[in-house]
């Protein structure tokens, strides 16, 4: 498709650290974090005036789902806005705990793994055309998802070496650094499960739109990105390959013999050269597979033209990111891609203090990189110092906190804001808007995710603002 809807769901990590006292438990911290949400929306699962959704998920994770965005700029701004909104809850909880004399520090992490081997995700959603054969789409997309981590992985320190995976030898087995946070926690190519046996693509078919025309592709293998440019590249590359697959482009079969094993091999091999076994026989490295995709997309764009105004940027950073691995020169992307930004920071710290990857401080820095706090978060420290690139302006992010992007989300957001201001009770999901109460309003359906206005929705909003609801 030439134009599609994107969305990102982020599960945040949360902890209360109190070296001098007794820290709150995970459940209590999450419950207290959501107290202002409960007061605002009378529920811990709410849609917001910017069209996004905020809720407590499996395992007491605060989770934020961005509103439907139709451009890379909007999805990046909405994702950054979500981090701001949840971080603001953290700041409020910190103030409360300080006032109560509980002390300690609440940390919110936009990462994907804790110290005990638990993982939580960043889920990407792409609207795709229903007419595309799904199994063919998955076939051509999986090798991309397995190998794109050498560009858009968030980087992770392994103080005890790579976690074991059957008999597979990963990296050199010594303490080290991997491209991805999430790779060690994904178990199969595609299925309908999410927590039991975590796949790369979740096949659950919930289009949240006209089901005859659209389907929603749910990719759950990616890392959460701190860097805006990493988010933009992650979505931009995946969209560009989807467009080519959807157009019916003939592509060679690159099915990997064991996608879960390959995911780990790629993550723990910073050279990008590890040979991955193909189902049809033969081997390819992550670099080779990525170069093939990039060449195919580049030729496709030459024939069919660019479908958005940042495509040249996507292709440029895609190429430079691969060169960084090929030439083993991460400085080529250490202002734009998370794994390289983090590695540069850790390398300077390690060399200044004579540490190696096994030092506990390295794992602490890894975690602190993902801390959402402006004061404690290392990524945000770099951002403040101008050491990383951005993709949208601070004003874009500020706007995205309070306003939906120009899609169905904007309409939903205006409905939610009007109802909240008027104290009117509503029932809202991604597709439906309804006023509750004695008026027994009919449910309004918003099947077209690109529509920014709809007469029946405007009618509902007018009813609320005129005090008739």
């Amino acid at each position: 498709m030439e134009r599609r809807i994107y969305g990102i769901e982020t599960e945040f990590g949360l902890t209360h650290s109190a070296p001098q006292g007794r820290p709150l438990g995970a459940d209590e911290t999450a419950r207290r974090l959501f107290a202002p949400v409960l007061a605002w929306g009378r529920a811990s699962n709410v849609f917001l005036p910017n069209g996004g959704r905020l809720y407590l998920d499996v395992g007491s994770h605060p989770e934020y789902a961005t509103a439907e965005a139709a451009t890379l700029q909007d999805v990046v701004a909405q994702d950054a806005a979500g981090e701001r909104i949840v971080d603001d809850l953290r700041a409020q909880l910190q103030e409360s705990l300080d006032a109560e004399g509980v002390g300690g520090t609440v940390h919110l992490f936009k990462n994907n793994a804790d110290s005990a081997g638990n993982s939580f995700g960043s889920h990407e959603n792409y609207m795709i055309a229903r007419r595309t054969e799904f199994s063919r789409l998955v076939q051509h997309l999986l090798p991309l998802l397995v190998t794109r981590q050498i560009l858009v992985g968030a980087g992770r320190v392994h103080p005890d070496g790579p976690p074991s995976f059957g008999s597979l030898a990963l990296g050199d087995g010594r303490p080290g650094y991997s491209f991805s946070q999430r790779a060690d926690h994904v178990w199969e190519g595609s299925s309908s499960a999410t927590t039991r046996s975590r796949p790369m693509i979740n096949t659950r078919d919930e289009p949240h739109a006209d089901a005859e025309r659209y389907r929603r592709l749910h990719v759950i293998t990616g890392d959460s990105s701190m860097s805006q440019t990493t988010t933009a590249l992650k979505i931009g590359i995946t969209d560009a390959v989807l467009r080519m697959i959807e157009a019916g482009q003939i592509l060679p079969d690159r099915t990997l013999a064991d996608p879960a094993a390959a995911l780990r091999q790629v993550s723990h091999d910073l050279t990008g050269l590890a040979p991955l076994e193909l189902a049809a026989g033969g081997h390819r490295s992550a670099i080779e597979l990525q170069r093939e995709y990039l060449e195919e997309v580049t030729r496709f764009v030459q024939r069919h033209g660019a479908h958005h105004d940042r495509l040249d940027w996507v292709l440029g950073l895609w190429d430079r990111g691969l060169r960084a691995v090929e030439e083993q020169d991460s400085a080529l992307v250490d202002r734009e891609l998370d794994w390289a930004i983090k590695k540069k920071l850790l390398d300077s710290y390690a060399s200044a203090h004579g540490m190696d990857w096994s030092h506990p401080r390295m794992a602490q820095l890894d975690l602190a990189y993902h801390d959402t706090s402006a004061r404690h978060g290392l990524f945000h420290m770099l951002e403040r110092r101008g050491a990383v690139e951005t993709f949208v302006t601070p004003q874009d992010v500020e706007r995205a906190v309070v306003e939906g992007p120009p899609t169905r989300a904007q309409m939903r957001g205006r409905f939610v804001a009007a109802a909240h201001d008027a104290g009117v009770s509503t029932t809202v999901d991604w597709v439906h808007l309804k006023l509750n109460g004695e008026h027994q309003q009919s449910t309004v359906m918003c099947k077209d995710p690109f529509a920014t206005t709809q007469p029946d929705v405007e009618g509902l909003i007018a009813e609320i603002t005129s005090g008739r609801a």
């Binding site: 599960e11 990590g13 949360l14 902890t15 650290s17 070296p19 820290p23 995970a26 202002p36 949400v37 605002w40 917001l48 005036p49 499996v58 395992g59 007491s60 994770h61 701001r84 909104i85 603001d88 809850l89 700041a91 409020q92 940390h107 992490f109 804790d114 110290s115 005990a116 638990n118 993982s119 939580f120 889920h123 999410t194 927590t195 975590r198 759950i220 920071l345 300077s348 710290y349 200044a352 506990p360 401080r361 794992a363 602490q364 820095l365 975690l367 602190a368 706090s373 402006a374 004061r375 404690h376 290392l378 420290m381 403040r384 110092r385 050491a387 601070p394 500020e398 906190v401 309070v402």
Partner: protein, 68 residues
């Protein structure tokens, strides 16, 4: 960067430290190198200022039930 809170009142990000004044771009290669070194030292000092002393306890203390 103060802005309206969605939940609750008051301005947010009040804890944000003031941004350091932008440095003037150094003119020569040597000055650039010196500038980078100073920038790195300064950054590492800022990091040490916010990290909890016991790295191991901090990392081990972050245990989250599994998500999706």
């Amino acid at each position: 960067m103060a802005q309206e809170r969605i939940f609750g009142t008051g301005s947010r990000r009040e804890e944000e430290p003031d941004a350091p004044a932008p440095a003037t771009p150094p003119s020569s290669g040597a000055a650039q190198a010196q500038h980078d070194t100073r920038g790195t030292d300064d950054l590492l000092a800022e990091i040490d200022g916010v990290l909890e002393t016991n790295a191991e306890a901090f990392v081990k203390g972050f245990v989250q039930k599994g998500g999706q």
